[in-house]
Amino acid sequence: MDYTEKVLEYFRNPKNMGRIENADGIGKVGNPICGDVMWIYIKVGKNEKGEEIVEDIKFETFGCAAAIATSSVITEIAKGKTLEEAEKISNKDVVEFLGGLPPIKKHCSLLAEEGLKSAIEDYRKRAKEKNEKL
């Protein structure tokens, strides 16, 4: 199976690339030996209801077109969502968004899901440590 037009489009023009200086949480997933590494940076803010939301999100990715496209898509889906909503984003949402992925590249979407979850986890861990210090 080839890449869909949408995958190629997101690979060509990815959104939210780069790093966030002083990020509130960073998720580092993947392994360079396997050929795909994603780093997801998040900045956490609050919405009108006072819930924590993904205010800003960026990625850095080493990998194939699918890895770059899925990184971009997960940041786009997550941006503005509450942390609880963002944590529920699954790789299926990413694959659906892209109109499918070649079977051999499905792990890229999993990596994107894990990257976001791990960034949120990192944020929560840091917040907890901060609270404990106070």
């Binding site: 690979f11 690339m17 360079p32 396997c34 050929g35 990625f59 080493f62 990998g63 077109a65 770059i68």
Partner: protein
């Protein structure tokens, strides 16, 4: 379009197409029949056979037509393995062979043959001493490719052939990447069998040949109507064979000029890339390589991404071997050369040929640095400067 993937396949030379054309309709006969159009076909096939023999300095009765390089490799390896099964069951090959050889050996291993995979040095040159030590009384065949399709490294075939001969072992070489590109003499190389493929040197796809030195004990794989002196059955692929013959004739005439011209372009590309892009690793042997092949790794980014971005610019290259693109493992050839996984993932292969012009190289040198910069910008491993 800028096509830089000539090791994958080449466009068919229009002169070859012209030569083939009449064998589809006017001269459509089955050469195995006895009437005049068939006899004429037979004569034309023999002329094509002579041209192929001429290209590799063989006798025409030692050339057998096949469906291509893969069949020739299968025939050589399985054919000898089956013919000599009472003599021994050990085959020596290298870690960097094409899958046509590797997977054939894997199959033979499954049915009881023992295979030794000879390692290579960092340039992809096989370890001759390792071969010498691997030889035992059960060894029936050594099969080592002439030039590697991915990195272009040329193996010391004459030396290996000598070792094989001294030990009374058959020697086969997959010469798919060298026949038609560089001068080849089966006599000088000292091979017992050699595989070649038409579409790698401007002939049509689906046709190739094997050279089998007279007297070589080899079993037939394809049984049927006894074509090719009973050694390879199946109705003659007449247009294909005519095309292969024409391609061989053209290659022989134009090779010398082409070698100089393409070498200049490839070397210019290499020099330009090294100048314009930092942190590049050039793969393969620095001198002893195919003059048209440039394989390199771009550190911190991944080959497929570069390939697709070049594709957006209508520049066609490959990453490692096209045959491995369905897998996630980086090229077995680069890994065998000791290149770490994370660097091997960033490999790119440029292979140039007859229809490339200097502008093509200039265009790549203009576009590639930008692509690399873009991808490195989003790579977590690239230290932003």
């Amino acid at each position: 379009m800028i096509y830089l993937d000539y090791n994958a396949t080449t466009p068919t030379d229009p002169r070859v197409i012209k030569a083939m054309k009449e064998y589809f309709f006017e001269k459509f006969g089955n050469p195995s029949s006895i009437y005049e159009i068939a006899r004429e076909n037979r004569r034309d096939i023999e002329k094509a056979r002579e041209k192929v023999a001429d290209l590799i300095d063989a006798n025409s009765d030692e050339i057998f037509f096949t469906s291509g390089g893969t069949e020739s490799d299968n025939w050589a390896i399985k054919g000898v393995a089956f013919a000599l099964k009472d003599k021994g069951n050990h085959i020596i090959t290298s870690q960097i062979e094409h899958h046509a050889v590797l997977n054939t050996c894997k199959f033979l291993n499954k049915i009881g043959y023992e295979i030794t995979y000879v390692p290579v040095d960092k340039y992809g040159v096989v370890d001759i001493d390792f071969i010498k030590k691997a030889i035992k009384k059960e060894t029936i065949l050594i099969t080592i490719m002439h030039a590697n399709n991915e990195i272009g490294t040329i193996q010391p075939i004459e030396e290996i052939a000598k070792i094989a001969k001294e030990n009374n072992i058959y020697f086969h070489s997959d010469c798919v990447q060298t026949v038609g590109k560089i001068p080849i003499s089966v006599k000088k190389l000292g091979v017992d069998m050699l595989s070649l493929s038409a579409h790698k040197f401007y002939g049509p796809k689906g046709v190739g040949a094997i050279y089998i030195r007279k007297g070589t004990k080899i079993e037939t794989l394809i049984h049927g109507g006894e074509q090719e002196k009973g050694k390879r059955s199946g109705t003659y692929n007449v247009p294909g064979i005519i095309g292969l013959g024409k391609a061989a004739e053209i290659a022989k005439e134009e090779m010398e000029e082409e070698m100089k011209r393409v070498k200049y372009l490839r070397d210019k590309l290499e020099k330009g890339i090294i100048e314009k892009i930092p942190e590049i690793v050039i793969n393969g042997h620095p001198e002893n390589h195919l003059y048209n092949t440039l394989n390199l790794c771009v550190k911190y980014i991944e080959g497929e991404s570069i390939l697709l971005k070049l594709d957006f610019e209508k520049i066609y290259v490959s990453s490692g071997s096209a045959c491995t693109s369905g897998s996630l493992e980086p090229s077995h050839v680069l890994l065998a050369c000791g290149i770490p996984h994370e660097i091997a993932h960033g490999s790119l292969r440029f292979s140039l040929g007859k229809y490339n012009k200097e502008e093509d190289v200039d265009k790549v040198l203009e576009v590639l640095p930008k692509i690399v910069e873009e991808l490195r910008k989003i790579s977590p491993f690239w230290e932003k400067k």
